[in-house]
Symmetry: C2
């Protein structure tokens, strides 16, 4: 029997679930940014229990009943219909996997992640391999269960949990296009940049002064400090909840650019959260759409808006005031030199240190390997060879025997996150496509940025992306915002224009 | 049917409950120490939902069944028996009050607390009175429900939630003794201190330097920084969980003593938490015993150990180094002057600013008023008169028309906390009684303190108080530690010795 009450019960149930997830988000942030080391063990227990309570609430049989009773209701608004779809998605995803598997994977990943910290530092593949094998085995089981539930291919079933609707075949097509031009383009750019030397900035940059610059630029971009904070953690991230977004960075006192760029990146993530539809707080439809969409918002700010001559023109006087105590005419401290430093392209081993041109090659390598691991055509013990072969092919780098800078550099697989990597580069391409649309819609956007005025840019993102929550799917959202679904061309054009146009 | 399994189920259930309370404690700390203002509304919702989930788990009918099945079990250890008793206490306390009353009181206190912030600043009793009347009315209902469940007098039923086993008649007896000598003693001390002038220390003391001194002294006292932090909040408090204790202070840059004393006080609370029995984490028997016991640990550190010539001898060189950049022979900065400043006695309006001699008079006044409010012999509209009358009698101060410094100064009643005030002074007396026992057991304790060595003192507290959790009741604990239940004599002797002995 169709019932509006059933739908209302779902909203009430998910509001309560959202409240517990809110608490979990704050406590997770606290663990990374505030918790002393001795608090770890009991914190781990507490967070595990909270997860169990959330999972029990999410998979409560009454959710299934209410979903069935709400099915085909005619008097729902478009937002309510989308919310119902997203609740169904959450419920199906949570019930697809057995509790035993969830528990086994949670134990195996915890063990593997802990061992990884030591193994990476010691370049110790032999210890890691069997632990990773267990995690991959359990993730294959998870993929099979999800595939059985939703009828997808196993790898697609994992990918779909991070990027709803995305399929490996489509990713492979997009990445195939990138592979077609990126390796050659990287070489051309490195050659071209030889005539645009960048001088490293040396000095001592206190944490407090870097924090001041970060806060000033967050303000420029439009971060709402009434609803968020900037703190320090081992790895930069964006956490918290839409009305209280917690971003972090880290500081090294011999350089400030890395921390600043991390702040700009996380600010992009944060402003997406802050712009989610207030009236749908706590409901699935009110959440961020997908990983690629999230990454598009961070990369749009960092790569498209801020790693530009215009932004550097705005930022440089603040850097002079904060680090030098006043204006400087030193060419090393010129906005042009800062711009060149922030757009340097290099072939390197480490994904997280990579520039935007080589970055997709790191991701493509991981996508191809993890797809083969789940598909069964690659086993964990042959992972280092596969890694080395692809690093040679895409970036011309030798990683034989260098596991620490090779297949042990990331923790994603150890954590059982398979299907996650592709979203980084889908996000980069989405950012380029969105920013191209922004430049068409707002012809003055770059001169606004040069003046430190992000108002119109943020308003466009608020209207076209942030406020949409999960009302539309990824293709619909992108089509509504840019006129077409995801395509490689704007990203390619962006790289061409930034790195190879003669200027 | 008696069953060990039932007891084990209770432990498992309460471990899970403890995990959710852990999460709640961290999020509460975050709200006070970290949260930006815009996060307040959704945080309020999230914390309310967590409270509901915790309450549902605590009052789950299966808890009652397991308790009945565990009743009279013979093969429980002393700790398990005590745990069972404490679980029964928690269950009975949580089930004594109807959900409707809990909700109504929660709404009324939230409204009253919000209005209080404005009303206190505006000295506006007229706006406050009806809101407080509602809260007191609901608290009377709560008291009646609790009284019906446990057979106590209504005020005792409230007092028992903060101080298990304590009764108003006993408090009245103890407070009667204090009233018998304190008002006169205050006068004698003020006279005596005229010949021991203290010179105020003026200067600018940065937050960072005060924080350094606070951290150094926390280390001296024995705070475990692997399992805790020091931060800033509007009011100093001790929060978090035993393996991750969060204390806070506040800083004013024209003075450092207030903040330092708050840090020492909260460190006493924190070390109690850090010393609770590890093997009973998450179980009721593993928690702190009572409010008075908790306050005894903070006041033992602050009042008994640290507001002493010996501690000031240890602390003063650190203060010189941090605030003056090196040793000083300025008499204003002498340890003797610091000691005199930290032991100054004055009749004042404000409880939280009061010294240890006048403090009990502030508490006695509140105890007598709140007991009359619950008993029905006083109504809220006559509260200001009752307040003024008692302030005149106990401290010789006129508060007519001065609500802000009178009956509007605290938020406890607005928050529905009735039965809480007496525990402050019970804690002060307990601290004196414990410290007298410490001095008998550790004859060198004061010279150790002068050397900054708190090891033996902390070990004594760990063994006699902290590690005991809730195994014993308050009288048993104090008798085991000092040879007798709570008595006024050690507190009186302490005041006599510190303030009136000729030295």
């Amino acid at each position: 029997m169709q019932s509006m009450t059933a739908y209302e019960n779902l909203e009430k149930h998910f509001r309560r679930l959202g409240d517990l997830q809110h608490v979990g988000a704050i406590v997770s942030w606290d663990e990374a940014a505030m918790m002393p080391v001795g608090g770890g063990e009991s914190r781990g227990d507490a967070m595990a229990t909270l997860s169990v309570v959330v999972h029990e609430m999410l998979t409560d049989p009454c959710v299934g009943e209410w979903l069935d009773e709400s099915d085909g209701l005619n008097d729902l608004s478009a937002w309510q219909t989308a919310n119902l779809r997203e609740i169904r998605r959450s419920f199906d995803a949570a019930t697809a996997v057995t509790a035993d598997l969830v528990r086994a994977k949670s134990l195996a990943t915890a063990r593997c992640e802990q061992a990884w910290r030591v193994a990476r530092a010691a370049n110790d593949w032999a210890t890691m391999a069997p632990l990773l094998e267990t995690v991959i085995g359990l993730t294959r089981e998870e993929a099979a269960m999800r595939a059985a539930a939703n009828g997808l291919d196993p790898y697609d079933a994992l990918l779909d949990t991070y990027e709803p609707g995305m399929r490996a075949a489509r990713v492979a097509g997009v990445f195939g296009e990138l592979k077609g031009f990126l390796p050659e383009m990287v070489g051309e750019i490195i050659d071209a940049q030889k005539s645009l030397p960048a001088t490293p900035i040396t000095g001592e940059f206190s944490e407090e002064s870097q924090r001041q610059l970060g806060l000033a630029m967050m303000k420029t971009l439009g971060f709402d400090f009434d609803r968020g904070r900037l703190d320090v953690s081992h790895h930069p991230f964006c956490g918290g909840v839409p009305d209280d977004v917690r971003i972090t960075t880290r500081y090294r006192t011999d350089s400030f650019a890395e921390s600043l760029m991390a702040v700009l990146h996380e600010t992009g993530h944060a402003m997406y959260e802050q712009g989610l539809p207030v009236e749908w707080r706590g409901q699935p439809v009110g959440e961020a759409l997908s990983m690629a969409t999230h990454e598009s918002q961070s990369l749009l700010m960092e790569m498209q808006a801020c790693r530009t001559r215009e932004f550097m023109q705005h930022m440089t006087p603040s850097a002079h005031a904060i680090f030098l105590g006043g204006a400087s005419t030193d060419p090393v401290w010129s906005s042009e030199n800062l711009y060149r430093l922030c757009t340097r392209v290099e072939r390197g081993f480490i994904r997280v240190d990579a520039d935007e041109v080589t970055y997709p090659l790191h991701v493509i390598l991981r996508f191809e390997i993890e797809r083969a691991l789940i598909g069964g055509s690659l086993t964990v013990d042959h992972l280092p060879e596969a890694w080395d072969e692809k690093m040679q092919a895409y970036l011309g780098l030798d990683t034989q025997g260098n596991y620490a800078d090779g297949c042990l550099q990331d923790v994603h697989w150890q954590a059982g996150l398979i299907g996650y990597f592709p979203t980084y580069s889908l996000g980069a391409m989405t950012a380029a496509q969105l920013f191209a649309a922004v430049r068409r819609a707002l012809p003055d956007v770059m001169s606004n940025i040069a003046e430190g005025d992000f108002t119109a840019l943020l308003a466009w993102l608020r209207a076209n992306i942030h406020s949409q929550g999960r009302r539309l799917n990824f293709d619909e959202l992108l089509t509504a915002a840019t006129g077409q679904p995801l395509t490689v061309a704007p990203f390619r054009a962006h790289l061409q224009s930034r790195y190879l146009a003669s200027d």
